[in-house]
């Protein structure tokens, strides 16, 4: 009965095709990321053999490119989904983890954790989560207390972000060894990654993504507006907190090994909303795939553009994301986002 009824309603968006295309793009970007780099170029067909033979190329793939590719896929997916959730919960298209202080909150506690407990690498994702959650809670509190307009909320987020950033700078000034490469951490970079650093974040991201997908119907209702959600029987306050905590966990996990990457969490949800609409399940899925593909491709560019030199991926992302953000502001001027 359901299929016959719903099949008569035309779906204005080709969601299935978009998701298939994104999956393909993600796979292609992952393969390219494994094969291309600043030192050597390998044919995709030779990758398994190189790994088995333990040749120099094989070792480069195993110890350098594989962790880096996994890190890109994981951080891209986590930040993009985190951005989509934060934008949805705060009902604000300009909210993103790097803009409203979530990333910098995570960064602050990561640096603090590294400064105080340099031996405890395993604590990093937890510290990142706590910092990200602190950031998101502060912004939520401002939104709830002031009933702030959308632009006020973003400005408050920028202020929170700057306070945290000042904290990071102060900590690095006092503990210069707290982060391995300060530049990479500040603008986001994925070199020098090892699987050990990715694995704890991987589990955090997996659990958070699974929980978010299971809450997609609740997110759909929440996107109708707080009051509509309430009168449809949704416990709005606890749900918003839970969703923001999960978004913070995702952003924190990404920051714990990739640094303060910007723009993935902002631009990917916007692009995906245009492609698949606002239904949460396809939106989150497309954001995960799109974010993974975008970050992997940007990282690849950062490696090959000036080979044999590398630039941090955050620079490439910002060069691509900055103009997009300005275009977004121009397109939505006239009070539509205020």
């Amino acid at each position: 009965m359901k299929s016959s009824r719903t099949s008569s309603i035309p779906d204005p968006r080709p969601t299935g095709r978009v998701l298939a295309g994104l999956l393909l793009l993600t796979l292609v970007s992952a393969v390219l990321s494994l094969c291309l780099g600043s030192t050597s170029v390998i044919s995709p067909a030779l990758v398994p053999q190189a790994l088995l033979d333990g040749t120099l190329e094989g070792q480069i793939i195993q110890y350098v490119r594989l962790p880096r590719t996994c890190g890109c896929l994981l951080a891209g997916a986590a930040l993009a989904v985190s951005g989509a959730v934060i934008q949805g919960v705060l009902n604000n298209p300009l909210a993103a983890p790097n803009i409203i202080g979530v990333n910098s909150g995570a960064g602050l506690l990561v640096v603090l954790c590294s400064a105080l407990f340099p031996q405890s690498v395993a604590l990093t994702p937890l510290a990142a989560f706590l910092g990200a959650f602190l950031g998101v809670l502060l912004v939520l509190l401002i939104a709830e207390r002031t009933g702030a307009s959308r632009i006020t909320l973003v400005l408050a987020g920028v202020a929170v972000s700057n306070i945290f950033s000042a904290g990071i700078d102060a900590l690095v000034t006092f503990f210069p060894d707290a982060v391995l490469s300060y530049t990479d951490f500040r603008i986001g970079g994925l070199n020098n990654l090892s699987m050990d650093r990715i694995v704890p974040a991987f589990w955090v991201v997996c659990v958070a993504l699974l929980l978010l997908f299971s809450l997609s119907s609740e997110m759909d209702i929440l996107s109708l507006g707080r009051e509509t959600a309430q009168r449809l029987g949704l416990p709005v306050k606890p749900l918003r907190l839970l969703l923001l905590a999960l978004a913070a966990a995702l952003a924190g996990a990404a920051v714990s090994f990739a640094g303060l990457l910007g723009f993935v969490g902002l631009i990917v949800p916007h692009i995906m909303r245009r492609l698949v609409g606002e239904d949460s399940r396809p939106l989150l899925l497309s954001c995960a795939l799109g974010g993974a593909a975008l970050l992997t491709l940007c990282d690849l560019l950062s490696r090959v553009l000036f080979a044999p030199y590398e630039i941090p991926v955050g620079i490439v992302l910002s060069l691509a994301g900055g103009p997009f953000f300005i275009w977004l502001l121009l397109r939505q001027r006239g009070g539509r986002i205020v």
Partner: protein, 251 residues
């Protein structure tokens, strides 16, 4: 059935509505009447559980509404507010969300929910809009979709705050006739309307509020005869008997 007992409510400051006692009877269209700012919308929000009460209680089928969960309340009362967000989803999806109060975790819509959404869209004359994004619809079309969503929620009591705002006269008359149909099916329909003439024509019963207090309830004829409307609105109201019944107009 919903019963209000000495209900007072507000927005943190002094009460906006005071000690209101009122029954929302199934099978009846009740129209709340009163000048701007008299507390009509606040009263609807208080009934829907969106406004904390300062005093009194709302009884739902004899039980205090405060003891019901949000989900249980959403299965009893539908509330269509004055201003609504316009999400970027299809009308069908929007109407389907009206079924949300009936889902338990992990909240996937069932075949019966799809059937209810289709039925509601057809009942609200909005089936042809089902596949269109709500943002692309006109004000009148959106109103139909919101009405369909309210119908999909399938509650015994439906509260609508100024539902005729975006509608031309034809659609206003359609909506009010439809309210009567819903009442005939056994639902309690409560409307906030500013057009006194239409309100008195279609209501089974009216409740006149002023300054947050309930002045009088009664049939349109009783309210007209008592002169409470003239005193409240400071505008002389007249009526004319036609074959179809009384028609009201401003003199």
């Amino acid at each position: 059935m919903i019963q209000l007992q000495d209900v007072s409510a507000g927005y943190g400051g002094p009460p906006v509505i005071r000690e209101i006692t009122l029954d929302l009877n199934p099978g009846e269209v009740l129209v709340l009447l009163g000048p701007n700012g008299c507390g009509k919308s606040t009263l609807l929000r208080a009934i829907a559980g969106l406004q904390p009460l300062y005093g009194g209680q709302v009884l739902v089928d004899g039980a205090p509404a405060a003891r019901l969960s949000r989900r249980q309340l959403a299965q009893k009362i539908t509330y269509l507010p004055q201003s609504r967000s316009v999400p970027n989803i299809t009308a069908y999806r929007m109407v389907l969300h009206g079924r949300f109060p009936y889902l338990s975790y992990p909240r996937r819509y069932r075949p019966e929910d799809h059937a209810a959404a289709e039925r509601a869209l057809k009942q609200a004359d909005a089936w042809s809009l089902a596949g269109l994004p709500v943002q692309t619809l006109s004000g009148g079309q959106r109103q139909k979709v919101y009405l369909a969503m309210a119908l999909a929620q399938d509650t015994q009591t439906i509260l609508m705050d100024e539902p005729t705002t975006y509608l031309d006269i034809r659609h206003q008359l359609d909506l009010l006739s439809f309210s009567r149909t819903l009442a005939k099916e056994g639902k309690a329909v409560v409307l906030v309307l500013h057009d006194l003439c239409l309100a008195l024509r279609f209501a089974h019963r009216g409740a006149v509020l002023d300054g947050g207090r309930l002045l009088q309830t009664g049939t349109p004829e009783e309210l007209f005869s008592s002169g409470v409307l003239n005193r409240t609105f400071h505008t002389p109201l007249a009526r004319l008997h036609t074959e179809a019944g009384w028609r009201y107009y401003y003199d």
